[in-house]
């Protein structure tokens, strides 16, 4: 616990876990070290993390399905009903040119 932590932090709250994971797991220079962390493991882990926080059913209920791109889970996660608000949001993201993992039902 040191001056270093105080020095660079200006936000009042500690960083959200989601923000930290997004950066630490998905960004930064990728170098294959001597020990390989399999990126598939990372993807799996973020998927699982999501599932830990809310069950898959709950997630589907909320229309969350952006793990669709993950071949491991796309099948099982795919049978939920598209929520109209969510699909609209996806359409919106697309139009806005925002990255989205939509894989539309038809």
């Amino acid at each position: 616990m040191s001056s270093r932590e105080l020095a660079h932090r200006s936000g009042p709250a500690p960083a959200q876990l989601a923000d930290v994971l997004e950066r630490v797991l998905d960004k930064g220079i990728v170098i294959a070290g001597d020990i390989q962390i399999n990126l598939l493991d990372i993807e799996l882990l973020t998927v699982k993390l999501r599932l830990l926080i809310a069950s898959a059913d709950k997630a589907r209920e909320m229309g969350i399905d952006w793990w669709d791109g993950d071949p491991f889970l796309s099948k099982s996660a795919r049978d939920g009903n598209g929520n109209s608000v969510e699909s609209r949001l996806r359409a919106l993201e697309e139009k806005a040119g925002l990255p989205t993992t939509q894989k539309e039902e038809s």
């Binding site: 998905d26 170098i31 001597d34 993390l49």
Partner: protein, 255 residues
């Protein structure tokens, strides 16, 4: 298990431009090569052994603890010098291998350090409570008069669809406008995939998830976010500013 001398590994958090203040960082070691410094920590090899790694990576507590530790080290380094974050889990079996890596990639690191020097990354998220917004808009619908129940239903449906289209258009414009205005006051920008609600724990949908590289001490982006928040409050759109972060989003391959 194995009590071989290979019981230790070196976890590399990032590569920084050498600076004496780095010596003050807690619990890390510095491996130097030329003007570059790898910020490393000696970790038990068994912690990151390939055999157990998949399991560890799927252990939420382990992941959170180590991801935050990774971030904390980078924050500390970024506070005193230019640093290039490496992705989580870059691990070497010996300090010599780290030195080799620094040598081989010196050009790439120099280029990245040059880009981020004197800058910080700020995150900006826009949130919208879609259901509240829909309800507000629904309250403005024309009351349905005349016709049978079927006709009333159809008319209501048509209104809803029209409203959804308008809402969608409006929010799209809004996200585009926000990003455009933030980009105008940033040295570089990245738009990331909106985070899912499971991860954010919020009921609102994320409309924009942007990262912006700005000069240290430059308040223009912060001011622009405040301005946007004030302008878009009527639509129930909220803005959230995070950081300063080490430049995670602005190193590596720039697309």
């Amino acid at each position: 298990m194995i009590e071989a001398p290979a019981g230790t590994a070196w976890y590399v958090y990032g590569v920084a431009e050498d600076n004496p203040a780095l010596e003050r960082l807690d619990a890390v070691e510095l491996i130097r090569q030329g003007n570059l410094v790898a910020i490393v920590r000696e970790v038990p090899l068994e912690e990151y052994d390939e055999a157990v790694l998949p399991e560890r990576l799927n252990d939420r507590e382990w992941l959170e603890r180590n991801a935050r530790a990774h971030e904390d080290v980078l924050q500390g380094a970024a506070a005193v010098t230019a640093v290039v974050p490496l992705r989580f889990g870059t691990i070497y079996r010996s300090p010599e291998h780290v030195v080799e890596m620094l040598g081989e990639r010196a050009g790439e690191f120099a280029e990245n350090l040059q880009r981020v020097r004197g800058h910080v990354e700020l995150g900006v998220k826009a949130w919208v409570d879609l259901s509240a917004l829909e309800q507000t808009l629904a309250a403005g619908d024309q009351p349905v008069a005349g016709g049978g129940a079927g006709a009333a239903y159809l008319q209501q449906r048509a209104q809803q669809q029209e409203r959804s289209r308008e809402l969608s258009d409006r929010l799209t414009e809004l996200a585009e406008e926000a990003h455009r205005r933030l980009t105008a006051v940033a040295a570089a920008d990245v738009v990331n995939r909106p985070q899912p609600r499971e991860l954010t724990g919020r009921s609102e949908a994320m409309l924009l998830n942007g990262a912006y590289l700005v000069p240290e001490g430059d308040d223009r982006l912060r001011n622009e976010v405040e301005q946007l928040a004030a302008e878009h409050a009527g639509l129930g759109v909220e803005y959230e500013l995070t950081g300063p972060w080490p430049p995670h989003n602005f190193t590596g391959e720039q697309s």
